[in-house]
Symmetry: C2
Subunit: 201 residues, 2 copies
């Protein structure tokens, strides 16, 4: 059952596709260095259409930030639910993270939230709040994962899950920084896997 067409002239653009394209521009150049003309070019939408669809530049930025955060968080949370050995799960976890941070069309752009958004956190309270919330969410997921692993006997009881969790989150932040600075993905994978082994074995 397809819903009947809406009243007026149909939209030319696809909302999700447009948001992907907007994301790319902000991801590469950051908030302030991105002009609406660049966004317009990337989406093939004229500025008035952009405004009608997504609000002003600030609103657009907040939208893609939260969207990126939600997608990444949920991907990572799903990986943590897989029924494999903890080290394998964490390897997949960081593999996906690194893939996300390094596979832009032109270059590695790192993390849209932890790198690009972060700069605005000082002047835009909402961005700061989002970042803290994303951290909290990933942190909670990781801690539950580790506690589950200990409960099931897959991980030694002696592990301090709080410290372990914050070190894994630190690893995420570090990968974000290094990815955008141009460190090659294989290096990042190496680092992550060695850290996982050292921390969990």
């Amino acid at each position: 059952m397809k819903k009947s067409n809406p009243r007026g002239r149909p939209k030319r653009y696809d909302r999700e596709k447009a948001l992907d394209q907007i994301t790319q521009v902000f991801w590469e150049h950051g908030f302030a260095a991105t002009s609406l003309d660049m966004v317009s070019a990337a989406t093939s939408m004229k500025r008035p259409s952009l405004y009608a669809a997504f609000g002003d530049k600030r609103a657009m930025f907040l939208t893609v930030q939260t969207r990126f955060a939600e997608n990444l968080s949920s991907d990572l949370a799903n990986i943590l639910m897989r029924p494999h050995a903890p080290t394998d799960v964490l390897k997949d976890f960081f593999k996906h993270l690194i893939e996300t941070y390094t596979s832009g069309p032109n270059a590695p752009y790192g993390c849209l939230v932890f790198s690009v958004g972060l700069v605005e956190a000082v002047t835009e309270t909402e961005v700061g709040a989002l970042i803290r919330q994303v951290n909290q969410s990933i942190e909670n997921d990781l801690r539950s994962f580790l506690e589950r692993a200990i409960k099931s006997g897959a991980l030694p009881k002696a592990k301090d899950t709080d410290v372990l969790t914050s070190l894994l989150v630190a690893l995420i932040h570090s990968i974000a920084v290094r990815a955008r600075s141009g460190v090659k993905p294989s290096s990042l994978t190496d680092m992550a896997e060695r850290a996982i082994h050292s921390l969990l074995i």
Copy 2:
């Protein structure tokens, strides 16, 4: 022996003081959101004077980036040379780092290099190179520090210094992210100290 005054009209500004003021502006707002008028207001120098002294906006930014990196790196390197117990030295190390990242005049701005500079790394090769170089330098200093500690018997031989080093660097990056996102300094200190204990004991 004071060197004789130079030929023409004397400069009104003090170069180092001006660079401090320029640093503050970029640190708070990032590169693109900073206008030369803001820099002009912060330094009480008119734009032509700024241009004569520091070149254009991009050159100014590169100057304060490298200056910040050099100052911080050298401070941290010095702390690592102190003849105390490894855990105490590392506590001081992170205490200084957190102090640097959180004690701006208005707010916590995090790291000028790892947060503010990082955004430009994609479009400005030099910034990316600087960041990689700073990471390398701190990493080397930390690794030597750990190797020294093991040699002197202050740290168990079993430690994998490479992994340990990259986890400590990750902790730095994480503190940079969290500081700018608005996490309060005491939380950061807590996290750092617990991580140090867990990693070194």
